[in-house]
């Protein structure tokens, strides 16, 4: 190192500095975003400290002792978890932490080995996925599931609940269900308009770009009329501009009174938008709290980034 010409060393330092300043800038942006966020339930969550499993004033989802093992691997082992109504709660954690498995279990897409949970005050453990959705907990998927050979409008209309024409015998008599279609179409078009997809209404969903499919999936979930939306990595593989637009939509959901629980990897996104952050590692909830607290939480940093040997206070 010492043999290197000085200017090269200097340039390297400059690069390092630039990198750091970028990070600082990103942090600032994220912090600004936090400040911008108007919390309807800020008072409800204010003052709560980040103890895993802490009780919330008005939880919409309460899970107890939920576990799921695949062979010898305990993918999920959550002692107690509550999600506050009307907030955006993010679920973070390194790959393999069990976030998606927990999602699958809670939404009825996977069965739990043990544990109970209640949604909106009613026990929901072991409920089939479609029943969970009808109760108001609607999920999206990590890999977007557009119904490719249905048009965008059909994708939307499909999602509406309480359609008379979904009964086999009614289906054979169009006058029984056709009057309902108009209302569905109106609602679908309003949502499509909001998600800037209205011009694509008659295209096949398979003709949409990746980003548009993400928007469609979110809009479609809203057609169900959920009280809680579970988003599994909605920003994965999405360009920064679209990320901002998706974030705006997520905020809008909360502002309309919905509860949002989402899995996300991008820390800037998480810190910027969440009212509450839950961090999982190796199947367990290792920390939860408001974003500012999680950001500086030693356990979270260690679990997420690994411990660096040259950091002060690091374990050798």
């Amino acid at each position: 190192m010492t043999d290197e010409p000085k200017d090269v060393q200097g340039a390297a330092d400059e690069r390092a500095e630039l990198g750091d300043s970028e990070i600082v800038e990103a942090r600032q942006l994220a912090e600004e975003a936090v400040e911008e966020t108007v919390l309807p339930d800020e008072s409800a969550l204010a003052g709560l400290t980040g103890t895993p499993g802490i009780a919330k004033p008005d939880p919409i989802l309460v899970a107890d002792g939920v576990s799921r093992a695949f062979g010898g691997l305990k993918a999920v082992d959550v002692g107690h978890l509550e999600v506050q109504r009307g907030t955006i709660t993010s679920l973070i954690g390194p790959n393999g932490a069990g976030k998606t498995t927990l999602f699958n279990v809670l939404t009825g897409f996977d069965r739990a080995d043990s544990g109970t949970w209640s949604f909106d005050g009613r026990p929901a453990a072991g409920l089939a996925a479609h029943k969970m959705a009808r109760r108001g907990m609607v999920r999206t998927f990590q890999l977007t599931k557009a119904l490719t050979r249905l048009t965008v409008l059909e994708n939307m209309k499909l999602a509406a609940v309480g359609q008379r024409g979904e009964n086999f015998f009614n289906a054979l008599v169009p006058p029984l269900w056709r009057p309902q279609e108009g209302g569905l179409e109106k609602r679908a078009l309003e949502l499509l308009d909001r998600f800037k997809l209205a011009h694509m209404r008659d295209s096949f969903a398979g003709e949409l770009s990746g980003g548009q499919r993400k928007l469609l999936e979110m809009a479609r979930a809203l057609m169900v009329g959920p009280s809680m939306v579970m988003l599994d990595e909605p920003m994965a593989g999405v360009n920064p501009a679209l990320t901002q637009s998706l974030l705006g939509h997520v905020r809008a959901l909360r502002d309309e009174g919905m509860t949002v629980l989402f899995v996300e990897h991008d820390m800037d996104v998480v810190m910027g938008i969440s009212d509450w952050v839950v961090c999982m590692a190796q199947g367990q909830v290792i920390a939860e709290g408001p974003p500012e607290q999680i950001r500086s939480n030693r356990t979270v940093i260690d679990a997420y980034l690994g411990t660096r040997y040259d950091e002060p206070g690091a374990k050798e």
């Binding site: 897409f109 490719t148 059909e154 499909l158």
Partner: protein
């Protein structure tokens, strides 16, 4: 070799009672595969229980024919439930394995010696549709032009067959253009997504299997009526694959796909058969290359080749949309 003659007999084949039976059964398969994405490789099993339901009711138990028709359709419904309830919660391939096995098991059970008193074993049952032919208002004679002509009996069966095809196709049209059909198409694309939207996917898949199976049963009943005779070995597994050929040629997921497919299939089959026979008798093909007994298998080989060409150059079938087809791989 008479080209006109060959074309007329091929045209006759396209509308003959067999074609109506194939069209019906393929419509059932279209509900399964074309609209719901269910892989049913045992449609012939539904035809078998439908045909035998009628035959056994009338010949063995002496019940009226209309009761036999209902029994046939009921048997198909029961078969659909038996196959669907245990498998439709599982991945798609399980239904495929179970249906292909079940259809073969049925055939073997119906032809078994111990079932002789009920099913007539390998000899099958005959003469159970007399009331239907007694109602025939068409005077005795031959109707048509040259080789394109049918007996009064054929016409009567065709009238029933193609009417059933039209009625069932109309029903399928109404179904697939309703919210019910929208859910089925959603399941075809991605059943987890549909489940996440609060639809009881299992329930819809059972309904689809039932409807398509009962339509297959109706095709079997139609077959039994038309030929006044059932034998277990008519219901070979290859029938299922002919039905798939019919469906894919016509265009899966199109209401008229299976009907156009059935016309094409029988037109080509009879065309091959007649032209090979005429070529052979006219000496265009030497006896040393092809004997008359080889024509049967050879025509199927040629139809198979045509199917391959269609799959390569027009994979969406005759009525399918290429735009939709290309989305599948994206």
């Amino acid at each position: 070799m008479d080209i006109i003659d060959i074309l007329l007999s091929a045209l006759r084949g396209a509308f003959a009672p067999e074609a109506a039976v194939y069209a019906l059964a393929a419509i059932g398969l279209n509900v399964h595969f074309g609209y719901t994405g269910l892989l049913n490789f045992g449609q012939v099993g539904f035809m078998l229980v439908g045909a035998y339901g009628l035959a056994i009711s009338v010949s063995t138990f002496g019940w009226p024919m209309w009761v036999g028709v209902l029994v046939g359709l009921l048997c198909a419904a029961v078969l659909a439930l038996l196959l669907g309830l245990p498998t439709l919660r599982l991945r798609g391939d399980y239904l495929a394995i179970v249906t292909i096995a079940a259809a073969e098991i049925m055939r073997l059970v119906y032809r078994a010696e111990f079932a002789n008193d009920v099913t007539g074993s390998v000899y099958g049952l005959q003469q159970f549709a007399n009331p239907f032919f007694e109602l025939n208002p068409i005077p005795t004679g031959s109707y048509g032009v040259g080789r394109f002509s049918y007996s009064e009996r054929d016409l009567w069966v065709m009238l029933l067959g193609w009417t059933l095809v039209a009625v069932v196709a109309l029903m399928v049209y109404l179904l697939v253009h309703s919210p019910w059909g929208r859910v089925l198409k959603g399941i075809r694309e991605d059943e987890d997504a549909v489940r996440a939207l609060g639809k009881n996917v299992f329930g819809f898949k059972i309904q689809s299997l039932l409807i398509g199976g009962v339509i297959g049963g109706l095709a079997g009943v139609m077959f039994a009526i038309g030929f006044q005779s059932v034998q277990p070995d008519t219901f070979n597994p290859e029938i299922t694959f002919f039905l798939w050929t019919v469906l894919l040629m016509g265009g899966a997921g199109r209401v008229l796909g299976p009907i156009v497919g059935a016309w094409m299939f029988w037109f080509l089959l009879v065309l091959m058969d007649t032209s090979l026979r005429q070529a052979l008798s006219a000496g265009y093909i030497s006896d040393s290359i092809l004997s008359p007994s080889d024509i049967g298998p050879l025509r199927f080989a040629v139809v198979g080749l045509l199917l391959m060409l269609i799959m390569i150059y027009r994979p969406q079938g005759v009525l399918g949309s290429r735009r939709e087809m290309l989305l599948r791989d994206r």
